[in-house]
Symmetry: C2
Subunit: 238 residues, 2 copies
């Protein structure tokens, strides 16, 4: 079972400040938990309903699961894991950076896309939503276990890494289909509403854009995770 | 102002049954509302905070806006619109169909992607989440005003339309990069967890797949709206 204070502690992990205080985060569902364990994330505690035992999980009833869960439809298994120590940036062919992405569903989905394309590190600006936010964990569908999210000042990173930078913009960029992105470059995506921040925008070596097809009408922009999907699929196709 | 019974009626529009009963749906935020009006959706009522008047909106205070809103962070404007009569399918170059897509954020995002590529009609299976669900409206970012979602039995549609059908699958399909999709074809995407249903799968003329790059590891699949983004961007690139 679970004490009242333990329940309170776990429920408090919805908030970033508490996740940092305890160095813990929540992952729900068999798939998410299995992938974290497979990738050596250290278990704090796992709770499960009868019949869904995983890794010495503590058996709880549905009522308690409903109290623990951050989901509208609680899963059968609820895991609490230790936040791993800050990983180093794995030097890879192409680096991806997010400048102030704020929606947890978008960040989770972009982590999953990076994982699909084998990208091991994702640079996130300090203001980007926390990757241990329960909604990020949920929408990353286990990919958080394989993609290191590294929070830093993107401006400093650009200065220190000396990488050629490419930023996705809505207007005034070259088409992604005619742009050649260097293998050792850094590809930057901006905030959902405001795009890449002015400071970073002014520093970019190249601006690239996804051509709009419905030019007479249609939306002003694509969702940031759709944009990342299209740009990366086009890059890795080569 | 607003009567108690009116407040109750509007709040009840969170549920599909009530949206169908009253033939009304909710759209929040200036952009969503502006786009619906631009595209001739009929206004039932619009409510706004002081300083945010739009289209004869009824002035309400923040407290009432908080009560009305379906959002965690309510917007300044809250609209209620009539659900338009079922539109006819616009015969276009490529038809998109969704087989049992269940997540409202995914449907909203796919509507936005269709709009980006100028696709005017989206065929949805009967079990696909309702396009007037508030979360769909929100994530479509106004594109719901330009893309007709037509709910029907996809199996019957395939039989009647005689279109050549292409379904996206995880295994056993031809690469999207080497597949040629006919201009008058129908491209089908399946459910988030289970893919395309067996009945439809058995009827497909062609199965296509997005090649996985992280072949030794990585996620089992991409999010359905990422997949739609990649397949459509690749198709329209030609």
């Amino acid at each position: 079972m679970i004490t009242k204070s333990e329940l309170k502690k776990i429920k408090s992990l919805k908030i970033k400040k508490n996740r940092q205080l305890y160095s813990l985060f929540v992952a729900e569902g068999k798939k998410n938990i299995q992938e974290l364990v497979n990738n050596n994330f250290k278990i704090y505690k796992i709770f499960s309903l009868a019949g869904y035992k995983m890794f010495d999980s503590i058996l709880i009833n549905q009522n308690l699961m409903n109290q623990l869960s951050f989901l509208k439809n609680p899963s059968d298994v609820f895991g609490v894991f230790y936040i791993p120590k800050r990983a180093n940036i794995i030097n890879e062919n192409l680096t991806i950076a997010l400048d102030n992405v704020s929606d947890p569903g978008n960040l989770g989905n972009i982590i999953r896309i990076c994982d699909w394309f084998g990208i091991k590190s994702l640079i996130c600006s300090i203001n980007t939503v926390d990757c241990y936010n329960p909604k990020v964990i949920q929408s990353s569908m286990g990919s958080i276990s394989r993609v290191n999210c590294i929070y830093c000042d993107i401006n400093d990173f650009l200065i220190n890494s000396k990488k050629i930078s490419y930023g996705t913009v809505l207007d005034g960029g070259s088409s992604i289909y005619s742009s050649s992105i260097r293998k050792d470059g850094i590809l930057i995506f901006g905030n959902e509403s405001n795009g890449i921040s002015k400071k970073i925008l002014n520093k970019l070596d190249f601006k690239i854009t996804i051509p709009k097809y419905n030019i007479n009408n249609g939306p002003d922009s694509l969702n940031i995770s759709s944009a990342a999907s299209i740009v990366l699929a086009n890059y890795f196709k080569k």
